[in-house]
């Protein structure tokens, strides 16, 4: 699903490389980023057209990475001119793949208590400590981190945002094996690692603002996951007959009678899920239209995206498993189809959706307090 590029990339086929290179040259991997940094320079409407065209020709994603989703937008807001010129074009072209170093073993929901330290050594910083849940760290070239630069300051005011090259002796990674059997996350260790001074983003001890902004990008990204195949919220008038990905798949496993899915209980669950997919997609679109109209940030509606999107995606896989029966319970081997095995693993992977980037409970707290203004 994810294709992140970078120095260590292995292309599945030559077309994948060609597609990434060509899209990257036009800046269409990051269509709305400014042209001077290699982006596409498209406005909201132009990008909408581009996305619709890409969907129409069923193009595979050319490149998607944490650089595109999170670091790039943050650099465009907080980076210096030199930092933008240095890092953004390489994100656009897929030359450098980035990972995120935020959480630590003792700092999960309470992120600001982090302890990894960066000491001023004149020309560079000396970094020591440990990060955890660093996605794809073992496949990445660079890491954007939160480090403690002000050990005596109050906890939010002693944190800086630092970019570190992972291709050095002082940085090691160790994959964490998840219940899915896969290792999308790593532990990352810094043992006298170094980073040049110019890699500090947003100012000394000012990293928390960058971090919070970046978390918003991350939550939006996670919320949007898993909706590629869900019912569309498109405003476009099409003649295509509406279809349901879940129902089409379920029919293959449980059969149909007079065009209706042959399991009324399962059918009802799919209906609920499809309706909510469409309602959610419409709400994503409404939030975009509202923020465009008011020229302000995200509307109240966007506070629900992380919570609702991830819970909804988990449910989608629960329903798929129910439809597939024992076919969804294989772990390995040629007796199961590759797609079936992938769904099983992905089902397990979705369990982290409502934990990473702030748990569902944290999101509900945020809605209660910030949007509904319920008392503390």
């Amino acid at each position: 699903m994810l294709f992140g590029g970078g120095r260590k990339v292995e292309f599945k086929d030559p077309d994948q490389k060609l597609w990434m290179d060509r899209m990257g040259e036009k800046g269409w991997t990051c269509p709305t980023w400014p042209k001077e940094y290699g982006g596409g320079g498209l406005n909201f409407e132009e990008n909408k057209v581009l996305q619709e065209e890409l969907m129409r020709i069923k193009a595979r994603p050319a490149l998607n990475s944490f650089g595109i989703w999170m670091l790039g937008p943050a650099l465009l807001e907080y980076g210096t001119e030199e930092q933008k010129m240095e890092h953004i074009p390489k994100i656009v072209k897929g030359e450098i793949r980035w990972c995120q170093g935020y959480s630590e073993p003792g700092s999960g929901s309470d992120l600001a208590s982090l302890k990894t330290k960066a000491e001023d050594q004149g020309e560079e910083y000396l970094i020591n400590g440990q990060k955890v849940w660093t996605s794809y760290a073992d496949e990445c070239d660079m890491i954007f981190t939160l480090v403690r630069t002000g050990p005596l300051e109050p906890k939010h005011e002693g944190i800086s945002f630092l970019l570190i090259d992972m291709d050095q002796e002082g940085v090691t990674t160790k994959p964490i094996k998840l219940i899915s059997g896969k290792s999308p996350f790593c532990e990352t260790f810094f043992d006298n690692a170094t980073a040049p001074k110019e890699n500090l983003v947003g100012g000394l001890n000012k990293g928390w603002s960058v971090a919070k902004r970046l978390l918003q990008f991350e939550r939006n990204m996670i919320a949007g996951m898993g909706f590629g195949s869900a019912a569309s919220g498109s405003s476009k008038k099409t003649d295509a007959k509406p279809t349901s990905g879940l129902a089409t798949m379920a029919k293959r496993y449980v059969g149909e009678k007079e065009d209706k899915l042959n399991d009324s209980g399962l059918r009802n669950k799919i209906i609920d899920h499809d309706m909510n997919s469409q309602a959610f997609a419409l709400t994503l679109r409404r939030a975009a239209e509202e923020s465009k109209k008011s020229n302000q940030g995200p509307s109240a509606a966007s506070s629900i995206f992380k919570y609702y999107g991830t819970e909804h995606n988990k449910l989608r896989y629960e329903i798929m498993l129910e439809a597939m029966g024992t076919k969804a319970l294989g772990w390995d081997g040629a007796e199961f189809g590759p797609e079936e095995l992938a769904i099983t693993r992905e089902w397990l992977r979705t369990k982290a959706n409502s934990i990473e980037g702030g748990t569902s409970e944290v999101q509900l707290n945020v809605i209660s307090k910030r949007v509904l203004e319920l008392p503390q």
Binding site: A231, S235, K237, T238, D239, K241, P242, T243, S244, A247, T248, A250, K251, E256, D259, K260, L261, R267, N268, I270, I271, D272, D274, M275, N276, Q278, A279, F280, L282, T283, R285, R286, E289, E290, K293, A300, A301, I304, Y307, Y308, E361, Q363, L364, N365, I367, S368, K369, V371, L372, E373, L374, P375, Q376
Partner: protein
């Protein structure tokens, strides 16, 4: 379709909000209920609504209306739904006005639409025949007899059927469904009013050898099935907007209560057990809002997904109205189940409104069929 209101629609919504706040707050509904007025609405208020042009919103300008569209009337219903404003507007100005507009001949349009727009007449649509919405395979029949039709059958849950000046009857004419319009006082019509749990009127109506002339036929003989379906979708969308208004008000009132009520030395809204349920309701309400807007604007902007969007709105809003009205009562505790407090009205309205032109399950099933499973 557009998911933000245009200027015209925003203006209508603001006007309706002011009207509901000043003329028909929930105390107005309570007053009508307590007056035991069997019509269940206030004629003076209805006149004021018509004077604002609301009864003519779906009617073309040449017949005295404003032709502001389904979204225009929908946003008004949303505001009226907040305060449970009782009126004959839904049956008269949405359902029956649309039937005549879509199927009627020039004379019928001139006659009826003009009077609907001016607020001079009320109408009611006699469609349902059983306790669950079933718009096809009607048992009420209309048999041709020379230049006349003889109508026999029984209708139920006829909204405003007890007192509307005219009835539009859906009847089987052998090869399909036909629509007829008649004065409610015609010979052969027996109306039994059925006061409902939400304090609105509906009726069971029996037709026994009701004789109507062919000029009372609206549209082609046996040719109205498609038009009925289209008008039902408009009506479903608009009633969803009304229900969505009720959802928002019940939620807002409850949220205020959570911020005011002290127990255990704290505002109950500070308890996480209630906060998370409120946040979940808020999420569902945001989804409902998108469904209602998309459905309302789909008619005016020419979508080819109108039936599915109407079913999405009606099912989703029906379900969330139950969630929110039940939670509202529970979170109010003891006073939530007293008649003196308004919150119980929403619980009752949710149940009746859900049944109008298809309950939640009807529309889920229809949504799936339209999606190919």
């Amino acid at each position: 379709m557009s998911l933000v209101l245009n200027e015209e629609q925003s203006y209508l919504k603001d006007t309706a909000r002011d009207f509901a706040k000043n003329k028909t707050p929930v105390s107005h509904f309570r007053g009508v209920r307590d007056s035991e007025n069997p019509e269940c609405f206030d004629r003076e208020i209805w006149k004021e609504m018509a004077n604002l042009g609301w009864s003519g919103i779906l009617i073309p300008e040449e017949y005295g209306g404003s032709d502001f569209g389904v979204a225009g009337i929908g946003v008004i219903f949303e505001e009226l739904g907040r305060t449970l404003t009782p009126s004959p507007m839904f049956s008269t100005a949405v359902v029956c006005a649309s039937l005549i507009k879509e199927a009627g001949n020039e004379d019928q349009k001139k006659d009826y639409l003009t009077k609907i727009a001016s607020g001079d007449i009320t109408l009611s649509f006699a469609l349902e025949e059983s306790s669950r919405h079933s718009p096809t395979n009607l048992e009420t029949t209309a048999k041709k007899d020379g230049d006349s039709y003889i109508i026999n059958g029984q209708k139920t849950f006829v909204l405003d059927g007890g007192f509307a000046d005219f009835l539009i009857i859906a009847a089987d004419t052998g090869k399909g469904t036909s629509l007829f319009i008649t004065n409610k006082d015609a010979k052969g019509i027996d109306i039994k009013v059925t006061p409902m749990v939400d304090s609105r009127n509906a009726a069971n109506i029996t037709f026994k050898d009701l004789k109507l002339s062919s000029s009372d036929l609206i549209g082609e003989e046996s040719g109205s099935d498609q038009i009925i379906e289209e008008v039902l979708d408009i009506s479903r969308s608009v009633i969803s907007a009304e229900m969505f208004g009720g959802i928002q008000e019940a939620f807002d009132v409850t949220l205020n209560y959570l911020k005011e009520r002290d127990q255990f030395g704290a505002k109950i809204g500070s308890f996480q057990a209630l906060q998370h349920r409120a946040a979940i309701m808020f999420s569902e309400i945001e989804l409902c809002k998108s469904c209602v807007l998309e459905s309302l604007t789909s008619f005016d902007e020419g979508s080819n997904d109108i039936p599915r969007l109407a079913s999405l709105a009606k099912a989703k809003i029906g379900e969330v109205f139950h969630l929110v009205s039940n939670e509202a009562v529970q979170m109010h505790g003891g006073i939530g189940v007293t008649d003196e407090y308004d919150i119980g009205f929403y619980l009752k309205r949710a149940r009746v409104a859900e049944q109008i032109f298809g309950n939640v399950q009807f529309h889920k099933d229809r949504y799936a069929e339209l999606t190919g499973y």
